[in-house]
Amino acid sequence: MVYILGGFQTDFARNWTKEGKHISAMIREAVAGCLAATGVAPQQIDVGHVGNFAAELYAMQGHLGAFLVDVDPAFSGLPTGRHEAACASGSIALLAASAEIEAGRYDCALVVGVEQMKTVSPAVGGDYLGTAAWYELEAKGVEFPFPKLFGKLGDEYDRRYGLKDEHLAHIAAVNYGNAKKNPKAQTRTWYMSEAHACETSKYNAVIGGRLKISDCSQVTDGAVAVILASEKFATAYAKQRGTKVEDLAKIQGWGHRTAPLRFDDKVAESAKDPYILPHTRRAVLDAYKRAGIADCWALDGIETHDCFTTSEYMAIDHFGLTAPGQSWKAIEEKVIDFDGKLPINPSGGLIGAGHPVGATGVRQLLDATLQVTGKAGNYQVPNARRFATLNIGGSGTTSCVFIVGR
């Protein structure tokens, strides 16, 4: 079993380029904050993993694992590495670290997710993000390719089952509303309402297919660090603090699947499947099985990948809140609202809290950890004991799910 001792998230409203800072400053602040938050000494860390999508493009910098060594003299010689799977990069780093712990190689792993995105204009950034799709076929020469791809996901729902934009607007409003409770959320001071999300205006223009600005997650600078530990390490850690190891969060289950890179290939493959992204559905079911839970109703909340409202719409039925194609029911019945039966993204998610691409999977795991240990502050879901995360790379290509609980 892999335990999560805690972690730290930088304020996602920050613009590190305006602050005049290098991506290594983000890693430094996240790691320093994580060590302070957990009380783990740098000497106790055995290995470091960094999840990051495209620092080579955004910051002209690769080899990010090496920046961990720079944070503290005690990290000298620390084995490190960097992992990439587009927007799922953070979760891949977590999977690698947890696999090493389960294999008995190491007892204590530091995992950092980081992305600095405000170094370039939105158009250039949109082009870089296109490399998370099949660039030559889907993104080259296309302005903002990803909203268009996730607009197509909405179109496919519409074709198979019907889809109303007002349901997508509710998803946006819930995420923005939740973000107001989260002191680290990028949009916490922004204005949003369901009325605004429903209207198309000069302030809420169409950006790709059926998606408007209010349907999109944000361009975000952010870094998040967590510490994963073996049972042996976690037991000693808990004892030292006068608490029980059972009170620490742990990874109860995980799922990890990869679909074809091209969106049209995914849709063609799933033509006869009730689920539009069956590999995402399989990642969810794998995680449920490994956690020993029957379905989503064993969860107290979900942190999902709402890179666009359509991806959260997809997550609702793929997690099994409704039958396939009926996500709108959970929206109309307010199941996903903060005080609903199964709240989704109490943090605000990618739309409200922000989406620093390579950091998102780690942020989701940290938020799940804060929720199940009762430390989520104003966005705490009362009495939460088990949360799921879903982190997606590309247009539904790499799907990673974690079940976090006590």
Binding site: D11, K18, K21, A195
Partner: protein, 431 residues
């Protein structure tokens, strides 16, 4: 008991603060009446509010009207009357008299004044008015800057203050700092001491040099004299004149408006709004810098001098997130430039934390308003990066007052800044 705020009237809703504050109320879903001298002006305020929150959807909560036709009727229905007319005591008092006659007995009345005496503003109104009157000082633009000051006067009903605090911190999403009804309250008192001091020093050392020396690396998003141009020289003058006339403390001399700024104001040079202040651009978009001695501008390229090496060391350390290292360079640098920067920054720490007990109750109040209102490194963040004991030594060396809270932190060997939800790194700039 104070009843909930179901509707708000904004007076002066066409101005920057009126429309911005009105946007904050309407964005929270509170029906808000925008009043101005003419309907056109009120409508312009509404359009401005929409553009500030980037949504036309807030307009469903906004109605507009004029002082002449609508004030009495709108005020009679309001739970909160929010005054944002010109920063002039007599103008404000004239409006308050009309409001006093029309308001419901339990309606709250607030002023957005950035520094006039709250007690003086409501003097002469009914007792009910005075009990329900206080200051809500938003910073410009209120839709972006969440720091705000809440200023009751001696006669404000504590229940009213408590209620407004909850409204601000809750539905309106503000970072609220309660201050005494002292001149310019907390943020502007501490902030304009620094801004005016830099303006004074610019006379001897040059505008461009001072603005770069006390630039972002010393803990602020915007350089000080660029800030004064943004605020407006007339507003700057109003604030420092008020402080010079009504405070008598160790910073008194620092509040005296430089003579060259008065000459500039007399000549209509008011900063960005007149396209000229400390800085302006020529037709070819070249930046020109004011020469205070000549009341004339020179190209920035001509007057720019190399900054001392320690500034580059500070920036390089901040660039990679090593803030303690940056402040170590600040502390140990030799030379008159380093002395000058330390005089300003240590003076800020000394004067800011020194207001605890007089203007605010706690160090965190000064820290929050400087951090969330000015986007400057809060004094406590700087102290923690330097070290409390070391800061005391530097203050003593510079013959600056050592605030009591600093001595206590040094004795306990603790950090001064305890805001786990706030990244202190966001206050260090290498840009």
């Amino acid at each position: 008991m104070v009843k909930p705020i179901r509707n708000v009237v904004v007076l002066g809703a066409n101005g920057a603060m009126g429309s911005g504050s009105g946007a904050v109320f309407a964005a929270a879903g509170i029906p808000t009446v925008f009043l101005a001298r003419t309907r056109e002006k009120a409508e312009a305020g509404r359009a401005r509010a929409e553009s500030m929150v980037k949504s036309t959807a807030i307009s469903r909560f906004i109605t507009t009207g004029t002082y002449e036709d609508d004030l009495e009727r709108a005020v009679a229905a309001a739970d909160l009357v929010f005054e944002a007319v010109a920063e002039d005591l007599e103008t404000k008092k004239t409006f308050f008299s009309r409001v006093d006659r029309a308001r419901k007995p339990d309606a709250i009345v607030a002023t957005v004044s950035s520094g006039l005496s709250i007690a003086a503003m409501c003097a002469g109104q009914s007792e009910s008015f005075r009990r329900h009157f206080l200051g809500i000082h938003f910073f410009n633009p209120p839709t972006v800057i969440v720091g705000c000051e809440l200023i009751p006067h001696a006669g404000t009903d504590p229940a009213v203050t408590a209620y407004v605090r909850e409204l601000l911190a809750g539905p309106l999403g503000r970072e609220v700092v309660e201050t005494s009804d002292t001149p310019a309250f907390a943020g502007n008192r501490v902030g304009f001491k620094v801004l005016n001091e830099v303006a004074q020093l610019a006379e001897e050392h040059g505008v461009a040099f001072m603005d770069q020396l006390v630039g972002p690396h010393s803990g602020r998003a915007m350089p000080p004299l660029v800030t004064v141009d943004f605020v407006g020289w007339d507003v700057h003058k109003a604030i420092v004149d008020n402080l010079y006339a009504h405070t008598k403390d160790e910073a008194h001399a620092a509040f005296q408006l430089p003579a060259y700024m008065q000459r500039g104001i007399d000549a209509g040079r008011l900063g960005n709004k007149t396209k000229g202040g400390f800085f302006k651009k020529d037709a070819a978009k070249n930046v020109l810098v004011l020469d205070p001695a000549r009341d004339d501008y020179r190209p920035l390229a001509e007057v720019t001098t190399a900054l001392p090496a320690f500034v580059d060391q500070m920036k390089a350390a901040i660039h990679v997130g090593r803030y303690e290292r940056a402040m170590d360079a600040f502390c140990t640098a030799q030379g008159k430039e380093a002395d000058l920067l330390r005089r300003v920054v240590l003076g800020y720490i000394s004067y800011g934390l020194g207001r605890v007990g007089e203007v605010v109750k706690h160090a965190r109040d000064v820290d929050r308003i400087m951090g969330f209102g000015f986007n400057w490194a809060p004094p406590s963040v700087l102290v923690d990066a330097i070290g409390a004991r070391r800061t005391i030594g530097l203050l003593e060396q510079a013959k600056l007052a050592v605030p009591r809270v600093l001595v206590e932190a040094a004795e306990k060997n603790t950090n001064l800044f305890h805001e786990p939800e706030v990244d202190r790194g966001r206050f260090f700039f290498a840009a």
